[in-house]
Amino acid sequence: MRKIRVLLADDHNLIRAGLRLVAEQEPDLMVVGEAANGRQAVSRAESLRPDVVVMDIGMPDLNGIEASRQIRERLPETQVVMLSMHSDEGYVLRALKAGARAYLLKDSAEADLARAIRAAFEGKSFFSPAVGKVLLEDYMRKLQRSGAEDPYEQLSPREREVLQLVAEGKSSKEIANLLSLSVYTVETHRAKIMQKLNLRGIAELILYAVRKGIIA
């Protein structure tokens, strides 16, 4: 089995060294390079073509979000694990929109780094457990204060199933195969879900799924 090639991008040397230590303990991970800012991360990624870039969200000279967007644009095969101090949904949503697959809090990076890298490599999502918790709290508080009903209740069992699979990163075709449905039916379900939950785009859908604890 070939190793997962990893590029580490963080502007703090100590953090980078720590991450490298953690990653190199895993037999299936190989750190192929490091970058100290966003611009460097983009150029290193282009030259090294890693499988996964672990990207700090706040970096000088092109921040992590913009760097991720550029990398995902130029290298669709390369996945991004976003590394952040913030469990706020503004960060999570922007990271998802920039094309990141995994969102890792620095507090728990040591424990979850390997899992996050592997999940991203396989095209799955991964979120630090604390992120889901904060998102859910925000969501529930808002619902409670506004007195509105959770639109999740309006989803049919089949729609919930589709929602989870979409959030996990599966394509409509894969979902159709998994559930023995036609691609058209899956697309219809998807549209219905988006409409019922008032979501725009796959990033918001993933965020919603994380928030509801459907995926982690």
Partner: protein, 456 residues
């Protein structure tokens, strides 16, 4: 800081000053004209009176001259008529001479004195008849004249003579009457002048009083304005001093709190960690189970420390502004406030460009922060809304809540003064709209520099 009332902020009424000056000048001119006019009238009257007296004296003199001449004429005539000589050409010459003299006197009585006085005409006629009689007598032959003359003189001449003298008396009386009439006219004229002068004086006095009153009112108003302005100045200076003192205080207390946090939280934790590391290095060989437990505890301490440092750092500079831009930072702030207070904050925006100049981002961020802080601390609101909208040349920020509001004119805390200062520095304006029981809406408008709109 109360907004100054309109009356005070207006310029001093220079128009009133000009009106007053013009009125004073007018009054002086009026008094001057009235005085000059009176002087001229007086001198005219004086002249008229002089003239009247002169005329009277002249006429009196002429009249007595005429009387004497007529008397002499009459006597000479009788002498001539009764003289025994047929000749006496000398006497006749004298008579002719006298009669010419009298006629010329009559003429000069008339000339230059207007119409002929009625008694003069009668007197002249009588004298003319006397002459006629005399002339007819002259035509008589000498003898007849000697015979008839005495009787003729007595019956014809004398009565005429008496009447002439009577006429002269009437004329004299007329003359005196003339003088009296002139005096009377003068008196009327004088009274008229007196009335006119009194009237002018009254008018001058009245308008002078009115002017003085108006001036007093004007001065009082000026004084009041000056006083209010002075009070305003003192108040605003006091406010400024209070503000700058509080700013210094605020800066100092912020530094104190950061210092305390650094020392108490971070310093203590790191110190504790150092001690733990020491114990760990000795325990790691002897008691690995305890050591593992200790490491877990140390990790918790380190995590708390990281959180503390993060909070301090966020307080000093919200990293979202740099990482995610203004809108995301505001959304984050709204969620933070929602998490830690009873207010649910909604953040919306329209057309806000991500590359606003940093001072605008910071200004808007701090503005919203302060407004939401105020809402949390004072308003008792359940919902708050932040709305940011950018147009071609300006960006506007509105923060509204459904709390119980306040009197923006009465209670303006330092927070609001600080916001005003921030907005003013970027050339913008801040309006706080609030009434007790109605919630609060804060709206700031910032003009954008020309290059910022092209960047969007």
């Amino acid at each position: 800081m109360n907004s100054p009332s309109k009356e005070l902020s207006g310029p001093l009424p220079t128009k009133v000053r000009w009106v007053l000056t013009a009125a004073f000048a007018g009054l002086l001119a009026l008094m001057l004209i009235a005085g000059l006019h009176a002087l001229r009238l007086l001198s005219q009257m004086h002249e008229q009176e002089d003239q009247a007296r002169r005329n009277f004296a002249e006429r009196t003199q002429l009249l007595s001259g005429i009387c004497v001449s007529i008397q002499t004429y009459s006597e000479t005539l009788q002498l001539y008529a009764l003289s025994p000589d047929s000749g006496a050409e000398d006497t006749l010459d004298d008579l002719r001479h006298l009669s010419a003299q009298i006629r010329s006197d009559f003429g000069s009585f008339v000339t230059g004195r207007g119409e002929e006085p009625p008694p003069l005409k009668a007197m002249e006629d009588l004298f003319a008849r006397q002459q006629q009689l005399f002339d007819s007598m002259l035509t008589w032959p000498f003898e007849e004249r000697r015979r008839r003359a005495p009787q003729f003189i007595t019956s014809e001449f004398r009565p005429l003579q008496v009447r002439v003298l009577q006429c002269s008396n009437t004329l004299r009386a007329w003359n005196v009457q003339q003088l009296q009439a002139t005096d009377q006219a003068m008196l009327v004229q004088f009274r008229d002048l007196q009335a006119r002068l009194t009237r002018s004086l009254l008018i001058a006095l009245g308008s002078g009083l009115a002017l003085v009153l108006a001036s007093m009112v004007y001065i009082l108003r000026l004084e009041r304005q000056t006083r209010t302005r002075y009070e305003e100045l003192v108040r605003s200076r006091g406010e400024l001093e209070r503000l700058s003192a509080s700013l210094v205080d605020a800066q100092e207390s912020e530094r104190r709190s950061i210092s305390r946090e650094l020392h108490d939280e971070v310093g203590q934790s790191l110190g504790a960690l150092l001690v733990d590391f020491g114990r760990l290095s000795s325990a790691i060989a002897s008691n690995p189970v305890d050591a593992k437990e200790q490491v877990e505890k140390m990790k918790a301490v380190a995590e708390r420390t990281v959180q503390a440092v993060r909070n301090i750092s966020l307080l000093l500079r919200p990293s979202m502004l740099d990482d995610l831009g203004l809108v995301a930072a505001l959304e984050w702030q709204g969620r933070e406030v929602s998490r830690h207070s009873e207010i649910e904050v909604e953040v919306d925006s329209k057309n806000v460009s991500e590359d606003l100049p940093d001072e605008y981002k910071v200004c808007i961020y701090r503005l919203v922060q302060e407004a939401l802080n105020n809402a949390v601390r004072h308003s008792g609101a359940k919902n708050a809304r932040v709305w940011v909208e950018q147009s071609a040349n300006r960006i506007s920020v509105t923060v509204s809540d459904d709390g119980h509001g306040f009197h923006p004119q009465r209670s303006r805390g330092l927070g609001i003064l600080g916001m005003e200062e921030r907005v003013k520095r970027l050339g913008g304006s801040l309006v706080i709209d609030s009434t007790p029981g109605q919630g609060t809406t804060l709206k700031a408008e910032l003009p954008l520099p020309a290059h910022a709109e092209t960047a969007s």
